[in-house]
Symmetry: C2
Subunit: 427 residues, 2 copies
């Protein structure tokens, strides 16, 4: 628990500030921390679906909205949340000041819509805290060093804002408030007996975020690990401890498998008949990185015939598929054909204990095989195994693996297909 | 008409950017001016009712929203319009860059929600124009000198932004695009045969804006007069000349009465039994000015008895009534009672020719008297006569006066009570 005079960064996601009632509830949380003696910096996301609505409006205007202007557009959502929360806090007898990303000193590069934080100049925040005031910071945004334009950090970037501020301010904890009560052993909407994890390591959380858990944004976890910022994922709707994300040495338990994660919003690109010569893969993935396309799983088949042509497959977020195919096309005559599979799923298991326990992969393949689920691609890390499978098989795969590794709160529970009495997982 | 290489400032109001179709239409207008060789700076308002919606949300959160936070909140609307219009222009093959008030160099005092422009530092705009780019500026907002906080200029402040930029840039014209085709001899919704005025002088426009014409904001007209910025009020929906606002020497015709204006959103405050001693009125109106309450008509009855107590009445915008009564109450024991009349109307006639033609006032009083409309307060200037009357009598008063002075396009026209085929007047 944070102590008196500690700086605490509290981040509230979109569902936690969706409407006036939620904003007042978040304000009450912030005031409670302040009244406990903490110096509070709160980072807010845009209200509910407001960012989605702005994006939809942009696409009504333009098929390919200018990235700089997209940032000017989208950065307004978090400012609205902050101004409203500040009004609520001021009404509760505390002085709050809302700051834009720029005013808060979040300095980024110029990569519009996917900017990276290059510096945090927190002088104005420190000044405001020293006046005994509460600081509200518009998440997800910053200002570019060179052109002083508004930039955004990409979807879910508010987590990164919060962690970056916690690091810069030496906060004792970065609390991430969402509509879920913590990090679960699987998505409770799919696995009703999924268990809330009291503690996970940065490494596990990184793998989970990378493989579909939407509670925390990957970059935020990376930033927290690099700066040793303790994260506390908790519910904005109930006052219970959630999940702590900490260095591995401090985690309490080290199960072989911690969680099953999944995603069903990926697409696969297969470049057929790539010339098998040095530099081609570098050319392709360099160009994709240049275009800010995050590539997830990659496999390349060794050429079997004399013509030295290989097939190269990789997965990307579905939203990046048009850009990815454009990029490949722009590289000219490097292959015979490009095939895409728009709708691909992935199931992953993550656990720090896997490092020292062989046989986990074999068991996963066995479970999927028993379910007649076809594994199309495999990707592993020391603490994770991911299998690309047909998107429609994802829920069944998650349930089977979760049960096989006995990750649930109890072995046999009546299924709750509505999911109504379970928290939902979202970012 | 603006010439090649001229700088033109084009301002589009809320209805002109209400939705994607309107935004594209405004973008097309802007591009047409650019393609004619002009260097274009466009100032945009927030979309349609979006500012009203933000205000309503603020009041769902707080009964008295913090003014600084209100500015942070409301300034987002114009940024959204600009970003969207910029996307549309970029799609049309021109390069456009949207700027916030702060980025555009609109420097104001710190009077939140009613800030005044103290400086325009247009370097970034000039730089962008010199790159052959179109500049879009979020209207209605600026940045405060001392605290570098976002400020807003008050409702309708985008007109002022446009005129201030036109002055700072030496623009050949400031075009104000709205959903009306120009300035009319009366509100066409009330007077079907109201006539579009080709030219009015700054002085007439000032009196008209002050007395209820919503086409142009008063402060914008004042700013234009002080800096000799020619204004062209025109329709964003049709490509016809509108109304030019120019110095008096340049105006073409000088009728005795140019227009009848009205308002029905005023309230009256009567301070009963004020001590009739020097300094009391100064105290009252000084305190009101301090609270940013704009007082319109003032009358004071001379005390008739020996107790030296007078009654002081004044009118304010209805929205300012609560603040006005609070201010009076805060002055302590200066009167016997304060009475308020929330709903008061006003009808005014404006005309530069009135200066040299006595008898206009008499004719107005006569017309109102014939209609049995009770005049409750009177206020005059060399080119204007205003009568405070019951709010419900306003439409009838406007029609009678407009007819009596023969201001219409033709003496007898069939009335169009729906007003559907007439433009509407709004700001």
């Amino acid at each position: 628990m944070p102590q008196r005079d500690d700086i605490v960064v509290m981040k509230f996601g979109g569902t936690s500030v969706a409407g006036p009632q939620q904003i007042k509830r978040a304000a009450r949380r912030i005031v409670t921390a302040r009244e406990a003696g903490c110096r509070v910096v709160a980072v807010l996301s845009a209200r509910g679906k407001s960012t989605d609505e702005l994006v939809a409006t942009a696409y009504e205007i333009s098929d390919k909205p200018d990235a700089r202007e997209m940032d000017m557009l989208l950065s307004t959502g978090e400012r609205i949340s902050c101004a409203l929360a500040s009004m609520a806090i001021n009404d509760m007898g505390h002085k709050a000041v809302s700051l834009t990303g720029s005013q808060a000193g979040i300095v980024t590069d110029s990569s519009h819509t996917k900017a990276r934080i290059v510096d945090v100049r927190a002088d104005r925040i420190k000044e405001t805290l020293s006046l005994e005031q509460i600081v509200l910071v518009a998440g997800f945004q910053g200002v570019s060093t060179d052109s002083r334009d508004v930039t955004t950090l990409g979807r879910g970037g508010s987590d990164t804002t919060a962690v970056a501020l916690a690091a810069a301010l030496g906060a004792s904890v970065c609390e991430i408030y969402t509509d879920v009560t913590g990090v679960f052993s699987a998505d409770p909407r799919i696995v009703p007996d999924a268990r809330k994890l009291p503690v996970v390591s940065y490494e596990e959380m990184l793998e989970m975020s990378a493989s579909g858990a939407k509670v925390l944004q990957l970059r935020a976890v990376e930033y927290a690990r690099n700066h040793a910022v303790p994260i506390h994922c908790r519910s904005s709707f109930e006052d219970l401890p959630g999940t702590l994300v900490l260095p591995e040495s401090e985690t309490m338990e080290r199960p072989i498998v911690t969680a099953v994660t999944h995603s069903d919003d990926e697409s696969r690109v297969t470049v057929v008949g790539v010339r098998d010569e040095p530099g081609i893969a570098g050319l392709i993935f360099g160009a994709l990185a240049e275009a800010n396309v995050n590539v997830d799983v990659i496999i390349q088949n060794e050429p079997v015939a004399d013509d030295a042509l290989a097939d190269l497959s990789f997965t990307v977020e579905r939203g990046d598929l048009p850009t990815a195919t454009e990029v490949i096309d722009s590289l000219g005559d490097i292959s015979n054909a490009v095939r895409t599979d728009e709708r691909i799923g992935k199931v992953s298991i993550v656990g720090a204990g896997m490092r020292s326990h062989p046989g986990v992969a074999a068991k996963v393949f066995e479970v999927l095989g028993e379910g007649k689920i076809n594994i199309e691609m495999i990707s592993t890390s020391p603490i994770k195994i991911s299998c690309v499978i047909p998107a429609d098989d994802v829920p069944r795969a998650v349930r089977s693996i979760h049960a096989a590794f006995e990750l649930g709160e109890n072995a046999i529970v009546p299924e709750d297909p509505t999911g109504e009495h379970r928290p939902t997982v979202s970012g």
